[in-house]
């Protein structure tokens, strides 16, 4: 009984990467739960849009985070051998497809945009799930296959909510304009009810899973796993859709940059030939992300304008292509397979700790 209660309490905080405060605030998304209410209480929401520093903020968090997946892909040990298509061929394919889309931007652009807008909330949800599982593995809390499946479904509930709320963001809009969807039969009352139920479930089910793991596994899931799932839910459940996207974009970017830098730095520091410290590797990685982020989001559209394409398609399609490239790359670089560099980083501290 005493051992059981010790195990449960030890697992509550979980095994953090940097420090519980840093992990919970930045990676767990706890910072958003402090910053967002502060912004709403202290200033009008439009401040976010008129803020003169916003472009710099977007560059440092959002653009850098998109670049980070590419930087990680090429700096991760063994990725060229493990992912030859993704590392060698995919960038050229992306550039080629993007260029072809430019020629028919008025027709195809809408669908490229739809793909990336539909994919975004799924990507955020998948990241939340991945982080939650990662902290469980790292903290020695082994979830059963059923518990993992349950966690996955809970994590993607906000994605389903977005799909229902924003008909224009997915496949229905490929065929029928939204105003006509609603004009035929007014079934929005039912849809609103379903989205509200999804919102409640997205907030309540993580607690149910937490209790279930607590009771059946005789130990606790780390609270950060719970937090990361619930903050993603809060972004899309509590706020209106547009605000949800804005806040998610910002805090997902920060969350992503933090975790990818931790993995990169740990890989670099673990190299036998390494002579540099953590700060050096952190600055180098972030510097690369900033430069690539600036080049892709700000210089590349001008490149297409130089070729004679309009400003609109050059900017908007480049953004969509970077997003889609990021989602695909991200689907591969976070695998925790045996022998993978990521697995080593996740397990490094967990092994032998008994936590």
């Amino acid at each position: 009984m005493a051992i059981s209660s010790t195990l449960r309490s030890m697992g509550l905080i979980g095994r953090c990467f940097v420090h519980p405060i840093f992990d919970y605030l930045v990676i767990g998304g706890g910072l958003s739960l402090i910053v967002i209410p502060a912004v709403y209480l202290l200033a009008d929401p439009p401040v976010m849009r008129d803020f003169t520093m916003l472009p710099w903020f977007i560059l440092c968090s959002n653009s850098a985070h998109f670049a980070a997946s590419t930087v990680r892909l090429y700096t991760k040990p063994g990725s060229r051998d493990a992912l030859p298509f993704l590392t060698m061929v995919f960038p050229t394919v992306t550039l080629g497809v993007l260029t072809l889309c430019m020629f028919e931007a008025d027709v195809i652009g809408r669908y490229v945009q739809l793909i990336y807008l539909s994919w975004s909330p799924y990507h955020y949800a998948a990241q939340a799930y991945g982080l939650a599982v990662m902290y469980c593995v790292r903290s020695g809390c082994e979830l059963t296959q059923n518990q993992k499946r349950f966690l996955w479904w809970i994590a993607i509930l906000p994605f389903f909510k977005v799909l229902l709320v924003a008909t224009s963001k997915h496949v229905v809009a490929w065929h029928i304009p939204e105003q006509l969807v609603w004009s035929q039969v007014d079934w929005r009352g039912g849809v609103n009810l379903v989205t509200e139920v999804l919102g409640v479930l997205a907030m309540a089910l993580p607690l149910v899973l937490f209790a279930q793991v607590w009771l059946t596994n005789r130990r606790s899931m780390p609270l950060i796993s719970l937090l990361v799932i619930m903050t993603n839910g809060v972004w899309f459940v509590v706020f209106p859709l547009i605000d949800g996207f804005v806040w998610t974009t910002i805090f997902h970017g920060i969350q992503y940059l933090a975790i990818v830098m931790i993995f990169h730095v740990r890989d670099r520091v673990a190299r036998p030939e390494n002579k540099r410290g953590v700060v050096f590797h952190t600055i180098c990685f972030y510097g690369m992300c900033l430069v690539l982020g600036y080049a892709l989001f700000n210089c590349l559209p001008y490149g297409y304008q130089m070729l004679g394409f309009g400003a609109a398609e050059s900017v908007l399609l480049v953004i969509a292509a970077i997003n889609i490239h990021h989602f695909i790359v991200d689907g591969y670089i976070w695998k925790l397979g045996r022998g993978d560099a990521n697995r080593r980083v996740v397990e490094t501290v967990a092994i032998g700790t008994g936590a």
């Binding site: 916003l54 472009p55 710099w56 977007i58 560059l59 030859p84 298509f85 590392t87 060698m88 061929v89 960038p91 050229t92 550039l95 931007a105 008025d106 652009g109 809408r110 490229v112 945009q113 807008l117 924003a166 224009s168 963001k169 809009a173 304009p177 939204e178 105003q179 006509l180 969807v181 609603w182 004009s183 600036y294 080049a295 989001f297 700000n298 210089c299 590349l300 559209p301 001008y302 490149g303 297409y304 304008q305 130089m306 070729l307 309009g310 400003a311 609109a312 398609e313 900017v315 908007l316 399609l317 953004i319 969509a320």
Partner: protein, 210 residues
């Protein structure tokens, strides 16, 4: 030996493709910087999506000149109300009815419940239909009138107590030669606003006998 050569080929090819991709990217990036320096006198500015680009277009070009760019932006960025509003306001200033329709449709995607937007779109479509009719393009005119009817019906359903929307509905019905229903809409408009001159005029002529 043959096996080794066969295995090496795909790797060589992917390496070549990688080099080609990177060269293309480098050309686009350096060309982009050069283009920005030549056209704006500075390296590419750090910006937020299309919003900054739109501001730049407004500052440097005339309304009619930026309509094609705004149309493309609105068709790609169909889900962003701001982009639609930018197109709509520029289209009104440039008197470009096709772009006004595009902007209104885009805004409706953003606010499908807005009866005024539905009514405005119906009015614009009705105007285009009449213009087509005057040019004896009967099929195009009918298509626009029917489209106008969809939106005026939604507008009236969303806000049945608006005299103005009832008048729009009446005008659309009249254009479609559904005179009975047109008269009913105008009468409803008069009930809501007894001083409504368009309703009085329509019921006096051409709907005198309905």
């Amino acid at each position: 030996m043959t096996q080794v050569t066969r295995r090496a080929r795909p790797i060589d090819r992917s390496a070549q493709l990688f080099v080609v991709g990177n060269v293309l990217l480098a050309v686009l990036l350096s060309g982009g910087i050069a283009h920005s320096v030549i056209s704006d006198g500075r390296p590419p500015k750090i910006r937020v999506g299309f919003a900054d680009t739109h501001r730049h277009l407004i500052d440097t070009r005339k309304h009619a000149e930026i309509i094609p760019d705004l149309q493309t932006a609105a068709s790609i960025n169909f889900d962003d109300g701001v982009t639609q509003l930018q197109l709509l306001s520029t289209a009104y200033k440039a008197h470009d009815t096709d772009s006004i329709v595009l902007g209104l449709r885009g805004l409706l995607n953003h606010a499908p419940d807005d009866s005024e937007l539905h009514g405005e779109l119906a009015t614009v479509l009705l105007g285009i239909g009449h213009a087509e009719d005057a040019l004896r393009h009967a099929e195009d005119a009918l298509r626009h009138f029917e489209d106008a009817l969809v939106h005026s019906s939604v507008a009236v359903r969303l806000n049945p107590d608006s005299s103005r929307l009832q008048i729009t509905q009446g005008a659309v019905m009249l254009a479609l030669e559904r005179n009975q229903e047109a008269a009913a809409s105008y009468r409803k408009a008069l009930e809501l606003n007894p001083d409504s001159e368009p309703a009085q005029r329509a019921l006096k002529y051409p709907l005198k006998n309905y």
